[in-house]
Symmetry: C2
Subunit: 539 residues, 2 copies
């Protein structure tokens, strides 16, 4: 025992659990009259938000909900969804956000697996939820969240949100978790194969990742943030808590429509929003008249599928400042960022776009990141060529998968989180994703990165969206097959597409088949490559 | 045991100790070529800084320095002092920063109390240190830090800093502390009475407070920070670690001279600095020609003695954006901030200055703050009148006092840190310090805040500095006595000062005596009121 280990213990004055709940309390104390949430004509202050969360927590507590209980939510990006991010953990319960695009069977599976005690439902999803609740073994209390902008009743609900909240005491005394490792939320992976896995977050990670967002993205005080990203997606990448930490304003959004997005950017002076590349594509292709009249700086964070450089370039040309990030549900959303270097501003625009499309470096609060051999965990050379798997380590890596020790153990093997994504490491330490390990095409023993082929397709002026998958081949093992959605009014032949790729890629990487039409997507906007692989094999 | 407690444990992939060392590593990895330190003509990058710290840590480790050992430093704000904030904790040792204005006896006391194993010395302080080392029982390894801008040799040193560093291996494998509660630094209080107390910080607190600075002060990425605040003072309020978190630039400064400060602000585009009100007074009273030509925004953070509103107003008039904070050595430096509200911009300038002079609200990462009865810990009314003691709670409250369980227990009594400062709480929750509990004047049973009287004195156009203390009085118990330093060339009588105070204060609060001359100060720039009280009683 050394000098500094003696009589210098933790006590209530010098040790407090890290929890994003402290951010809400501070915003309410310091800026009670600042606007926390805007939803249509509704304006809710931070003082009111805090009071509403306390009352809702009290009501949940009175109904027996407490530590370790699951509270589910099938809600769009409305104020109630934001409030649940605080009210539920105030009683020690765990918020389970359900992807609003899921089918009844999947929802029932999740509610049963999570042993859901309460479920909050927006009437837009009443039909699906009606079936899901009947199908599920769990018998949660069903709460209807009425939203002025979507006014149908939910026939299955036992009680309405505001009524439940009003059961609660104004002066309910909630407390921080005794242990910051306590679970705060549960998010199911989209699960392209088999049953989805339940990713569990804790208070410590939520607190740190909320702050990491603010610092890594340089959000400043009082950002105005538009909810283009679903809050059910990795808890909106932890932004509900980032907004509380920076006392910002949440601008709610039920539906992602370019016209509405541009309108809100102008009327509410939105200066931050996040979105998958598909959202950016929608904005880029929106009529010019919607885009006119934005006179302030807008910062966009994008992740999801790696956005082709051309999308980033188009956004920048529209005057939006794009930050490219990358992460997984298992890492609380984004955990790497393509941190910008001032000297890159001197480069030609297309080179800038290529640099900006890299997944980059660890965000401020991820502790370690590497591209390594999936078997030996030996780091790959930083040569921009040697492909390996991306591994992370840090406080914003999940606790594990709920009731799935095997999957947890596998994903943490060797003391690193295994992302399943394949990347190279550039000389400057920036990572560049080449593919999901299951998406890579192996043709005649050569690896073909589907992302590389897609990024060439995106450069074709007629192409709006593109996805490339492997098609089984007796001779080559696999061959690349492209699925392409054309921009409105454009016409182009399969041969033209293939020729364009051959001009811009090594010939063996060019697709051998091109299918035109819409792309099937998961509820989070990711292209369902397994569906495309099925189609490709049937050609 | 609930659902969420099962098989969701900590492992190396999802739990990493919070430590500011991770910030240095990230800055070096992501921005190796950005400038970390500027000292005169010297420019050191983040990559070099990291490499230098690793080598120094290796050298310390090879000489047997490790976990829980004390490494002392008697250094001005030069690059070596910055590097020690990382190199020392890299081996698990504790950095003990010595106030460079201390006398040999006090230094010897600290080195013995801290059981110092190594001491780094700048030759400016060689004479004092020579005596101190001879006087001390501890026999630390003495290291001379040579600084180009101050080139005398230190006769007592065994080895020079760069030579020691070069003993170390480039590829030394340092590690984060296993427990983030591990001690990182030791800072002695100025100790106006009795022996100073050794305040111990830990890695977790240093990490969180570094981030709290960045967010609370809205520092953004890559700030350029001028070292007007001594790094030996609460580890420069944790800014060495904040600069690493934000990959900023440290502009070093051996001596606080207004001319140099203005020169560096212009030449290095400094946009952030901290300083006690005395530093601000120096800047305000500097010749006009030095101040001209600053064309960028400069943010100033000030604390220490509460700055009279007039000082803040003058700084704002010079175009500097002043943030007023408050804290103690025990709270890692500032832990409250006078958070600004946009609507205050509409108020008259003098009202703004009064608002800005309040100590404000808890910073983003202090968990709780209250003004309460020192005995019962009952919170005072938020009425702007009821005076109580300031109490804090949070992860940026010290571990405790080294080898002083009694003092630690007393300061943490009731689960709150007892600041010893007296304040009122305004209706909006902002605190306003009225005095140190030992400084308050009680005259005829009425409390007189010496700060209130001082702030009136500062409004007198001839007054440069002022301090008010109690003078013993047989009839009234105590009476206020003022000590005043006049601006150059100004002349004013005792009666004029007293009359001015009576015009602007309740009569019983006006000083009954005025003494003209310089003010005695502690090494951290605080007025030594105990010295003044002695003089006052002898009048």
């Amino acid at each position: 025992m050394n000098l500094f280990d003696m009589s210098l213990d933790k006590n209530p004055a010098n040790y407090v659990s890290l929890s994003p709940l402290t951010f809400l309390k501070r915003s309410a104390d310091v800026y009670p009259n600042k606007i926390a949430c805007i939803h249509g004509g509704r304006r809710i202050t931070w003082g009111e938000t805090y009071q509403r969360c306390v009352k809702l927590a009290a009501a949940l507590s009175e109904r027996g909900i407490g530590k370790g209980d699951t509270v589910s939510a099938m809600l769009p990006n409305i104020p109630a969804m934001f409030e649940l991010h605080f009210a539920v953990p105030m009683v020690g319960a765990v918020l389970h956000s359900i992807n609003t695009r899921l089918d009844a069977g999947s929802v029932a599976f999740q509610m049963d697996h999570a042993e859901s005690k309460v479920v909050f439902i927006d009437s837009e999803f009443a039909d699906v939820m009606d079936v899901a609740i009947k199908e599920a073994k769990a018998a949660p209390l069903v709460v209807d969240v009425k939203d002025e902008s979507f006014s149908t009743d939910t026939p299955i609900a036992k009680i309405e949100y505001e009524t439940l909240m009003n059961e609660g005491n104004d002066d309910f005394s909630w407390s921080l978790p005794e242990d910051e490792w306590q679970s705060i939320t549960l998010n199911y992976t989209s699960g392209t194969t088999g049953n989805p896995k339940g990713v569990v977050y804790h208070h410590r990670g939520a607190y740190l990742n909320a702050i990491s967002n603010v610092i890594t993205w340089d959000m400043g005080s009082h950002p105005v943030y538009l909810w283009t990203l679903p809050m059910f997606h990795c808890n909106g990448w932890c932004f509900p808590w980032s907004l509380a930490a920076s006392t910002g304003t949440n601008v709610c959004l039920r539906t992602v429509l370019p016209k509405t997005i541009f309108k809100l950017i102008k009327s509410e002076k939105v200066n931050h929003f996040c979105g998958a590349p598909t959202v950016l594509t929608m904005l880029i292709n929106a009529p010019k008249k919607h885009k006119e009249g934005i006179e302030h700086n807008v910062k966009v964070m994008t992740a999801g599928a790696a956005p082709p450089a051309s999308i980033i370039q188009s956004m920048e040309e529209m005057g939006f400042d794009v930050t490219h990030v990358y992460g997984l549900t298992e890492t609380y959303g984004p955990c790497t960022v393509c941190a910008w270097h001032d000297e890159w501003n001197e480069l030609p625009v297309d080179e800038q776009a290529t640099l900006r499309a890299r997944q980059g470096v660890r965000s401020v609060m991820l502790d370690d990141l590497m591209v390594a051999d999936p078997e030996t965990l030996e780091p790959m050379a930083k040569d921009g060529r040697s492909m390996g798997e991306i591994f992370m380590r840090g406080n914003n890596v999940m606790k594990g998968y709920l009731k799935n020790q095997t999957a947890s153990d596998e994903s943490f093997k060797g003391g690193w989180f295994h992302s399943g994504d394949l990347a190279v490491w550039h000389e400057d330490g920036y990572i560049d994703i080449k593919d999901r390990s299951k998406d890579i095409i192996i043709s005649g023993g050569e690896n073909i990165s589907t992302l590389e082929v897609e990024s060439v397709l995106y450069r074709h002026t007629s192409v709006m969206e593109a996805a490339v998958v492997a098609k089984k081949d007796d001779v080559w093992g696999e061959k690349p097959c492209a699925f392409v959605t054309l921009k409105e009014g454009e016409e182009v032949t399969e041969k033209e597409i293939i020729d364009f790729c051959r001009e811009n890629l090594a010939h063996y990487k060019a697709p051998k088949f091109v299918v035109f039409g819409g792309l099937p997507k998961t509820s989070t906007g990711k292209v369902q490559k397994f569906v495309l692989r099925g189609i490709a094999d049937d050609i």
